[in-house]
Amino acid sequence: MRIPAGAPGARVLAFGGYQPANVVTNDDLAKTMDTNDEWIQSRVGIAERRLAGPEESEIDLAVQAGGKALAASGLDASDIDLVIVATCTMEAPIPNAAGRVAHRLGINAPGAFDINAACAGFCYALAAASSAIQTGSATHVLIVGTEKFSHWVDWTDRSTAVIFADGSGAAVVGPSDTPGIGPVVWGSAGDKSDAIVIKDRNSFLHQEGQAVFRWATTALHPVAKLACERAGVDPADLAAFVPHQANLRIIDAIARKLGAEKAVVAHDIVLAGNTSAASIPLALSRMIERGEVSSGGLALLLGFGAGLTYAGQVIEIP
């Protein structure tokens, strides 16, 4: 047996993001449940979110974001030989999402698998893509985080309905002579698996908000620091910090403890809500589009959520 040499490194070549057309404001939600704009903005930081209708599936969302990332990368569909979809809101578990997304984008016979690491899923997928390229198992990888929470949320439960939303974000990853994706720091806390659950096929999403908040504001900044350390990057030199968009107060608490003074901190939750595996690429694609971050700068990504799972790595912004 022999192992062919892979690429010396991998990097993100392009990002793409997509949100459904239907904007739902806090005032809209206040019409059907006991909540209000001030409460939602101060506790969670969300001003509006987008929800897909019955005609638009999590696969449709993924195809939109994946298509944008592919177009922005300048590559052809035929250049992609691996597709990874990170999602935790599939309506049905079989078939997987990756094969269908690939087919819809005209990507012929790639390796295709899904990852469920909930809100950490995109960072897991990115690590898998980077490894596949460096071990010679793939040359160009399309990774997509896609979520349609609207069919798993109880629209009478104000503790979750104001938070979770629909959306997708994608990235194309390719080979590189210099490192563009740092080592992943990943882990889990299965002892806290009850904190965020969908119990069975007839249940809605349930979250122990306070317990998750405490975990996120205490356990994650060391992960963020370690991801920087393992990449040999001083947090003070980060151009951007793009954590999973769970709650503005969690984001700011981790950012404060990380000490990334110069970094632009992603606040995409304001416009997107919590889109789980989609939130990091969705945020970063918007930051790039708006010129808030520059190509070549270093960004720390940090995913965390149900499982509980977490993963983070430093990347060079395409």
């Binding site: 506790r43 317990a211 709650n247 107060r249």
Partner: protein, 79 residues
């Protein structure tokens, strides 16, 4: 060496100021977190976590909901 009530009060004032922006001088023992200081449940979690780092006393969520005033937290940390 046990910390004094005054030291805990000063430490809490500093923590609450950092997390909520409320001036430390307004954090006095008789103040209620919700009614007087307008601090919500998520900020209380952040305060509990910071207090744990500062004083080495864990305040679990099920205990936290019973601590209504600054005085209650001081008592919990001293106990």
């Amino acid at each position: 060496m046990a910390v004094t009530e005054q030291e805990i009060l000063e430490g809490l004032g500093k923590i609450i100021n950092e997390i909520t922006g409320i001036p430390a001088a307004e954090v006095t023992p008789e103040k209620s977190f919700v009614d007087d200081l307008d601090i919500d449940s998520l900020s209380m979690v952040e305060i509990a976590v910071a207090a744990q780092d500062e004083f080495g006393v864990e305040i679990p969520d099920d205990q936290l909901k019973n601590l209504k005033s600054v005085k209650d937290v001081i008592g919990f940390i001293q106990a």
